[in-house]
Amino acid sequence: MIEINNISKWYGQFQVLADCSTRIAKGEVVVVCGPSGSGKSTLIKCVNGLESFEQGDVIVDGTSVGSPTTTLSKLRSRVGMVFQHFELFPHMSITENLTIGQIKVLGRSKDEAIQRGLKLLDRVGLRSQADKFPGQLSGGQQQRVAIARALAMDPICMLFDEPTSALDPEMINEVLDVMVELANEGMTMMVVTHEMGFARKVAHRVIFMDHGRIVEDATKDDFFGTPRSERAQLFLSKILSH
């Protein structure tokens, strides 16, 4: 489903991504972790072309992200993305947030879009908030709406860029629950997160990054059981020690 082939990226002299490669099969859930500044968010944004890269290529469902002939907007409409700071559209109601993409990008009728949107709101448990504005919801609720907004486009896979990092602790679980449910339904997911509990519960593989490199790319059991690299061991001991 997603193939990342030897991509490298520089900000001027500074290399943010160094020769990163991995594959995510259909239905696979892959967690990407690592210290801040290690390039996790940049890597996941390269998958749908929100960030460009100088070398290598990313292939999503057979389409090359790096190719100049690819219409990125078309590709992105099939790849759902959830951001750290939710990024709901503050000038639109929750319903409008859920329908704008369906109407403007997929060309669905307004009625059809609203129906689909409300169904997804139901699913994330926020049907009653349909007419509110993002600013009136809690962080956890906003992030659930953001997940519903991405799902409304019927994506072939979902990218999560630190979906719980900006949330108060008591709101993290309501978001993770929605994500676990999605994973159990067989959605292909790439998740940048520090929630190791989530990784243990649903991830098939864990990727560990440091200084723009993929240091470790292992099955969940191998990663938590016997991480090969010293850097990953250190990271795990710090993150799991409390």
């Binding site: 944004k45 929100l50 992105r76 559209f89 000038h91 403007k104 486009m153």
Partner: protein, 223 residues
Amino acid sequence: MSFFTELDVSVIAPSLPFLWTGLKFTVTLTLIAMSGGIILGTLLALARLSPFSPLAMAASWYVNLMRSIPLLMVILWFFLIIPLITGYPMGAETSAIITFTAFEAAYYSEIMRAGIQSVPRGQVFAGQAIGMTYAQTMGHIVLPQAFRNMLPVLLTQTIILFQDTSLVYAIGAKDLLKAAEIAGKNYNRPVEMYIFAALIYFVICFSLSRLVKHLQSRIAIIR
């Protein structure tokens, strides 16, 4: 005998219909220059922020040029030059409308540029991530927010524009000030007419600036 007892306000009532036609032109000019200026200014702002550098440079030149020349000179030059270019004579009123739209676009563009930059980059990402094109992201996501954030500033600029329209007096366009001048000459009471015209300018501008204040507090709540 004081200045005020000398004033003869009785000349104002009979000249009201004439002043009204002048005010109508002043308001029309303001409204057209405002809407045209905001539309053109938004396009200029998008051009200045575009990654295509020749376009960004051209827009930047235009804005800086307009902002570096006194408005009165622009009004005079447009009045003289446009007929030379088009080959058709043009009335002072039409010339004023074109001049003000072109001139105000430069100022509105700076406001819209700040507005566009006030919208977080994540919003652009979010629009693009659901498959929106550049135009859709701008039209549905960025510009509505930029416009809302900048509404008080846009209105303040419009108040300045409203006052500046009195400069069309220089090319003889019949605005409120010109009408007051003519009426003043007719009745040989220029002071009364100029005071009355100033009062009209004051009432309109003051009400608008109260509106700006009100909007500012409302927008602060929405955030």
